[in-house]
Symmetry: C3
Subunit: 207 residues, 3 copies
């Protein structure tokens, strides 16, 4: 459990950095960048817990998450030039975080007694809604609608976890497997520019 807690804090730290970096090209000041990092890091889990009525929200009940976010924002400020060069590394850790938070969200909803269908949606929301809120606030079409096979990778991993859980697979193996599925789908989709078709279109490859 200590490993899981450390990973949660680390994932929150990475989400805060990627959120703060998201506004570097626009007319945002440091405060706006920090605020965006904060929203990105807490948005998904907060929305999940508000929808489920699961109080207190994680970062409100445990102030260490707030410190992880603060550390991420300060790191971005102090080492901006260095961090901005690490985009590929950050993308990789961001993808790890998305997979990890999806399955944690599924487990939280299941643990509170909600049905698997609800748990799958809550897992996906945990991972992607922080970014959706960030993009909405900064007036962009949310990444979820632009970069295909992003939220859908999370949903696929959540469904796999729920199925294997239902069939009795041990939790640790299931966690590793379903997170790996999310990460693999996401990395393959980005590498090969895979995308789902739109309404009234045939499947295509971008570019």
């Amino acid at each position: 459990m200590n490993l899981q807690y450390a990973l949660e804090l680390a994932g929150t730290f990475v989400f805060a950095i990627s959120g703060a970096l998201a506004v570097q090209d626009r007319e945002h000041d440091l405060f706006g960048a920090g605020f965006t990092g904060f929203i990105t890091a807490i948005g998904g889990g907060s929305l999940r817990d508000i929808l489920l009525g699961a109080y207190p929200l994680v970062w409100i009940g445990n102030v260490n998450f707030l410190y992880a976010i603060f550390a991420g924002i300060v790191t971005t400020f102090l080492f901006f030039r260095f961090v901005a060069k690490l985009r590929r590394t950050l993308f990789f850790f961001d993808t790890l975080g998305i997979g990890f938070f999806t399955i944690l969200g599924v487990e939280k909803a299941l643990g509170l007694g909600f049905r698997p269908e609800i748990a799958a949606i809550m897992g996906m929301f945990s991972a992607v809604m922080g970014g959706v809120i960030r993009d909405t606030l900064t007036n962009e079409i949310p990444i979820l609608f632009r970069k295909e096979i992003y939220a859908s990778a999370c949903l696929a991993g959540a469904v796999v976890y729920l199925a294997l859980n239902h069939w009795g697979m041990e939790r640790d193996y299931n966690l590793l497997l379903s997170i790996s599925i999310i990460i693999t789908i996401r990395l393959l989709a980005v590498k090969y520019k895979l995308s789902l078709p739109g309404l009234g279109q045939h499947p295509k490859r971008n570019g």
Copy 2:
């Protein structure tokens, strides 16, 4: 009550279709369209219940609403060309749904012991906020601000329901009457392009 429940599921189905269709012209994939249908269908009722603290949210407590949404999304995907041609029919059912969910929202808030002023706002929110959230996510000026006499029709119907309820009209008649008022105002407004005036303007007809 069974008729009401069936109508609620049917209204949710229609809202999901109209939400999914809303993104057909943009760079959305199937997942984005489904996600938008989902948000449109659950947004208004979820916001109402979160504001009231009425847990569990309807679709989280009763998974049949999730299935109604899923059916609406799959229907849109499979029969896209057919559904897209039914715009007038869909608009009619959407208008029915807006009237119906307004009054159900009013009744829910009243039933939980909230004041009529709050119930009127919650009724309007139930009907229109799904569309507002949808438009905000897809980076449009919400329909509520563009298409006049839309949310205001819901508010008018809610006030009529509350007044007649206060004066003792039987529930079934009141339901039918106040829903009809919402639908009539909305259809007349669209047919004759009626609109409310803006700030510092005189009343006008559009176009």
Copy 3:
């Protein structure tokens, strides 16, 4: 306490006016302007209370806040030309309101037993998130990201209040002092066009 309650209602009235005025230049009808005034006035406090799970929300539990909002909207409609000329006066009262609601938000969170770190964030959210939601709905980059030293002034005042509270300063003096700090920072920032630097930039003066 009666003075504080009167100030809360007055602040809500002013926020509703500034919200309704915010949409005068666009294609909004009276209803859209009223809706925007409503959202601006309730948004920050509602978000704070939803995040904290502090039910009922202020305006839902006490209908007088609804009447204060309604009065602000009607005032804007009836005396639009007059009110629109009062921009400087409104800006001043809006700034007063932001300072006041920041510290009230801090006190509410503290009173509910939350940690100071959470209370500081909740104070800032109370004051600024109504405007952020308003700007997001009307498809603008939120003022928080554009006009520097706005939310950060609130955060600074909240931290000062918490520090002085921790060191035992009497509540009334602390309230006046920390609100004055927020107002002073905000007014100086606007007068001298002060701003925080952006990521990878040096501190600068705008314009």
